[in-house]
């Protein structure tokens, strides 16, 4: 699995109002890039463009993988909503990708993947029986099951409590290592912990910020990580409205 770098250059308008203009975004290969910004700045629009989803906006420009090959079939997506299908058990939820492509689902691998995210023995449970943190673990297992070189993360931990969130950050960083990851977030602490590269997105601008040193996930309590978090928050607050 060779993880390609991603790029996006262009402008997006929503009903004539610019969402972002002349944006130039680089997502390096095999590393985590955090796109940090306030709500409504167009972070999710960028992610949705890569995902090929309906953004509701008109995009003028180009985006794709730097190796020139199409993105289809090379991406996995994980969002704030776990998007588990309530009528399927956990194993079937994790294996849904194969079923949606008309392939035979590998249920043994689905069980192993559930075990990897700490849900061993729960494969026949239904999503409704789970806590929010557990459900997001299943969503991670489903993402891992897809085994794609590019992973798009759309605020995947923002609905979790602080403790669960930090645990999920550790687990996700560990299991999605060496992939090209674009993480959209509004949480400076998350960007400070998880970004090999951190980009602050404001109206019409993307500013790279030097991340703290060290491999990800960085410790929650290290002075340089906390310092970087404070610095990121200061820069977010300084953005024009």
């Amino acid at each position: 699995m060779i993880a390609p770098a991603l790029h996006l250059d262009g402008s997006a308008r929503y009903d004539g109002t610019p969402v972002f203009s002349d944006l130039s975004l680089r997502v390096p290969a095999g590393e985590w890039t955090c796109l940090l910004g306030p709500s409504g700045v167009g972070k999710s629009t960028i992610l949705r463009l890569f995902a090929g989803a309906d953004t509701g906006a008109d995009f003028d420009g180009s985006f794709g993988a730097d190796d020139g090959a199409p993105l289809d079939g090379r991406m996995a997506l994980m969002a704030q909503d776990d998007l588990l299908l309530p009528w399927l058990d956990l194993r079937a939820n994790v294996a849904i990708g194969a079923r949606l492509r008309g392939e035979a689902p590998d249920l043994a691998r689905a069980e192993a993947t559930l075990a990897r995210v700490g849900l061993a023995g729960m494969e026949t449970r239904r999503p409704a029986e789970l806590s929010g943190g557990q459900r997001q673990r299943v969503a991670l297992a489903r993402t891992l099951m897809e085994d794609r070189p590019i992973v798009l993360l759309d605020e995947p931990f923002s609905a979790l409590d602080a403790r669960t969130r930090s645990q999920m950050q550790d687990l996700t960083a560990e299991t999605l290592a060496a992939r090209t990851v674009l993480l959209v977030t509004h949480d400076p602490a998350e960007a400070a912990r998880l970004g090999h590269h951190i980009l602050i997105m404001g109206p019409n601008s993307v500013t790279p910020v030097a991340p703290p040193a060290g491999p990800i996930p960085r410790p929650v309590d290290a002075a340089d990580v906390l310092g970087a978090q404070a610095d990121l928050l200061r820069q977010l607050r300084g953005l024009p409205e």
């Binding site: 995902a51 996995a76 969002a79 998007l83 299908l85 009528w87 949606l100 492509r101 798009l152």
Partner: protein, 244 residues
């Protein structure tokens, strides 16, 4: 079980009011028979009523099954194809402007005096509620589910089969529950217009001969049957949804 108890209490209250009206007004039994007389008639004419009830039940159940299958298939077809929606949906809505009663004579002409025309009648009356409640549910999928499925490489047909249809089954179930109440209406209208069997026919016959007690007896049997079929259909729908 308290639901059942409330139902029985409510039925007893209804019978009491009915008896009170009979006593208070002193209406002759061929205008308003009392509950006691009607009960006696149900028992005495049980063979006759059962024979006709069996016919009506067959019509209702056949109409329900056919109408549900046809309605569900139509809903999926409409949900799957924009062309079908543009071309067929206005026609469906327009068809609802035609009172089903008005169709009964022509259906009898086309499908005969036997079971056929009544089954078609029941089918027509339930087709729209089933189609429209299932269709509405199919058109309200979680957009993010569909976006995720697309990223995973799913075709529209597989998204329909694995996501949209299962997610819309509660909508289909509520349509079928409604249909269980409507279907007997269709069958009875069909029998009124032209039949030699069935509870609707029996009611007309009894009415024509001033056997009001028999008419009431048939009416009560029909009402009880409708409630039963609604309960059974609800039960089946709930069970299936739980298992799903």
């Amino acid at each position: 079980m308290s639901g059942w108890r409330a139902g029985i209490l409510s039925a007893l209250l209804g019978v009491a009011v009915w008896q009170a009206v009979v006593w208070a007004t002193g209406l002759p039994r061929f205008i308003l028979p009392g509950p006691g007389l009607v009960a006696t008639t149900i028992w005495k004419s049980r063979a006759l009523i059962a024979e006709h009830a069996l016919i009506t039940m067959t019509e209702v159940i056949a109409g329900l099954i056919l109408g549900t299958v046809l309605g569900a298939l139509s809903a999926v077809g409409l949900a799957a194809s924009k062309w079908a929606r543009t071309l067929v949906r206005p026609m469906l809505v327009f068809s609802q402007a035609i009172p089903v009663f008005a169709l009964a004579p022509i259906l009898t002409l086309w499908f005969g005096y036997g079971l056929g025309s009544k089954v078609v009648m029941a089918l027509i009356i339930i087709y729209f509620p089933v189609t429209s409640s299932f269709f509405d549910a199919l058109m309200r999928p979680n957009r993010d589910w569909i976006g995720l499925a697309r990223v995973m490489g799913a075709s529209p047909a597989r998204i329909m089969w694995h996501i949209r249809i299962p997610a819309a089954l509660p909508g289909l179930a509520s349509g079928v529950r409604l249909a269980a109440v409507y279907a007997p209406i269709g069958a009875i209208i069909g029998e009124w217009v032209g039949a030699s069997k069935g509870l609707g026919y029996l009611m007309l016959l009894a009415n024509g001969r001033a056997k009001t007690d028999l008419m009431f007896a048939a009416l009560i049997v029909l009402a009880v049957f409708t409630i039963l079929i609604h309960a059974v259909v609800s039960r089946i729908a709930t069970r299936l949804l739980e298992r799903y």
